[in-house]
Amino acid sequence: MASTAGGRRRPLVAAARRPQGHLEEIRAEEAAVEAVETAAAELVGAARQAVGTGAPDTPQLRLGAAFQVSQAGWFLVLALAAFVAVDQAVTFSLSVLGPEIRSTLGLSEAAYGIAVSQRATAAVLASFQFAGAIHLRGHRKLLVLNAAIGTGIGAVLCAFTSSFWPLFLAVAISSPTAGAVWACHRPMVMDGYIPQVRVRAMCLHQAGIVAGAVLGPVLVGALSGWAGLSWRGVILVVGLTTVIVALLAIWLRDPAPGRHDTDAIREAVRSKLGNGGAAAGDAAGLRFTETLRRIWLVPTVRALLIALAVLGIVVTPLLTYMSFFLKDHWRMGLGARSAFLGGAWAFALPALAWFGPRGDAMFRRDPAELVAASARLFVLLAAALAVSVLIPLMPVAFIGFGVALAISALLVPSLTVVMLSIVAPKARPVAGALAATFLVAVGGLAGAMLLGGLDRRFGPGAAIAILAFPALVAAALVRRAAGTVNADLDQMLSDVVEEEEIRSLSHRGTRLPMLACRHIDFSYGKLQVLFGVNFTVDDDEMVALLGTNGAGKSTLLRVVSGLGLPTGGSVRFHGTDVTYLDPERRLAFGMGQIPGGKAVFGPLSVVENLQVQGYSHGRNRRAVNAGLEAAFDAFPRLAERRNQPSSTLSGGEQQMLALASALVVKYRLLLIDELSLGLAPKVVAELLEMVRRINAAGTAVVLVEQSVNVALSLVDHAYFMEKGEVKFDGNASDLLARPDLLRSVFLEGASKGLAGTNGASATSRQRRR
């Protein structure tokens, strides 16, 4: 199989095993597949360049030129930056005008704190709503427009509130832009601009947030001081300004997801493989929750999300502690503190301008370099925090805090670009919502809970110095992510290339196997139990999956049926990627599993068990009744006990009932785990006969068995697994000629028993073909 620079290139689809009578057909198919795979090997390398990395010698495009090439121009990022800037102004107004608002509304400090701080929670919830809406093909431009207008209207409503609950509601209404930042803005920046300029574009967007933090105090000061407005007047003006700025969204153009990366990869694959078909979409659409799980399975994303949570832990209490520190240590009043913090935030603007091109260059050379740089930034953040409070000079504190805030501003674009680059474009809003959750909800809450009382206990200076420790923890986490980011990027690219390859094969009329598991890795926590397992089942085939106890057979079945999600590799059903689909969605494909020893609902009667199976698979009453008849014909003993609770059946009868469900549902692929376990030989023979009949009726069967003589008496294609790896994949008779595998005691016993059944197996093969 081909491999690429990335090292985790997955093979396409192995040529499905075919009957011996079709050798020429097999060779032709395999040749076609190999040709495609050879071409595809080069494509993943090219795909890395398409996502803006792996081309260190490419000269860096100037910002203007790159924006022009991207076709989004300056407007997209500047408009989004303007939305976040005014949102920051709203946030700042609510924060700094708190005492005045409280004095008007008669609210305690705690009540006001609850009313305002829930904005962050509402923003996180909003980010999930946006991500969900985008997942259902919601229009991001409209969401951004609504969010910005909602923020403005919420702020305007704040100006008219007269008690707690209206204020609470108005603040919540003002939160959507903060939620849209992660679910809409940043994915739009990723989609709007070519990969070579994304760090700079993201820095520009972040500059909007910083500009809001810098200009917010100026705006509030001007409106309150020079214009003589009360808090209501200030918030009304800020809210109306937000509504006016929101109207910019009318002229936004929503860039298509993946337009500058995965679409380019698909196009390259199509032209390379000669598939002139229409542009393909992404793989089988994942549901929202499936996408969440898929994203969480990416190690780098997981590490970066946790790092973002730690960043939240550091930044959330930091701003409060800084305010206390300035007040206690330097005796600064509100105005002086606002000016100090505004000035400190201003450090971030030149820092973003400096970092942007360097971040792009690092990503272009190697994404791991950008991740490692982010880890160093965390270390620098820790140092800046410590220096700010340990050296009792105001200029040092000003520079130290400025550097700390600048670094926190740099970390967001650098981590975001990396994280969103290694997830599929359509999953980016969901990844963004997750990032918002970890940064704001998890980090913010943990910061408030774990570090909230530090200032009271040790004083604000010591509390700030203590924040250096979580920053160092985040540095270690991010450093670790540098080791996995390339593999995860390759995995994402491989998924895209593989999808196109499959389309190419289909386009050429190449027959695809029913089930193709490729390079499956699976772990229970940190314990990996499957290692690069390849497993293929063809239409109508009956396959035995054999192996010692703990070899991973049942785990592999769980991966196929969706009860377990792999950490690597793919599961395809007739070419459709079902790797991360929920089990019930796989049922719709006709994939079903009979789990070993617990396949019936004990409290339900026999007939109810079968009906439940039928109806839950969407069969109508007539089809279910026909299935019931077939099942009772096949198993007369079940017919006799049709109204008996299934928990009262014997073990063999329960297995019969489980098997009978296949006659009602009519699976296309049936996975049977340990059918014969603990059953009498006579019962086993009866069940096996039924398995044969189900297979003969057109259902492909995978039989997991420890009893080799049982399994090999039925099948002609067998897999043998040991320690999570496939050690044998071939004809059942060939397995017997492998003494290295037959060393296991049970297999030796089986080989003796099999001599008598080989003839039956061959007969069965001939009958089927």
Binding site: S103, T104, S108, T161, S162, P166, S230, L334, F458, G459
Partner: protein, 159 residues
Amino acid sequence: MTAPRRWAAVLAVLMAASGCSSQAMLFIKDTRVHIVQPTENSRHSLPLHLQWTGNNVAGARYALFFDSPPVRPGQSLLSLVDKQDPCRADNSCLGSSSLTDKYVFVTKATHLDVDLLPDRRKSHSSLDDHLLTIVMVDGAGRRIGEAAYLRTFTLDRTR
């Protein structure tokens, strides 16, 4: 319902939900009262001498709140007094210990001396910050208008 009407209806509902009241809302700062002492972020020791000026406030009394939010506009100071408090019977609550115990003082004068304020230091190294809020109330102790005047100051507990 046409789109503009729908938006207008939504806005009306939101405005209603925002708790818009008939109370006159202040969008411009009310500058009738000016706190002369303490100055913003100044440092003092007890007893604390407070002084302010008032223009166009005829008939009004000043209610001073230390470190607690004032009553809402239109709300009476009696809402802060226990329902069983005997001062309610003889209408003497406004100057009684029922309010001063809560660090709420009512006066017609433009100055006040305060002998005691709670220690609000979070730790011995931090400052004892206080927030003074002055609002105007009528003879019955009902707050007049939204105007509130705030001043932050620090008490030096080391002296």
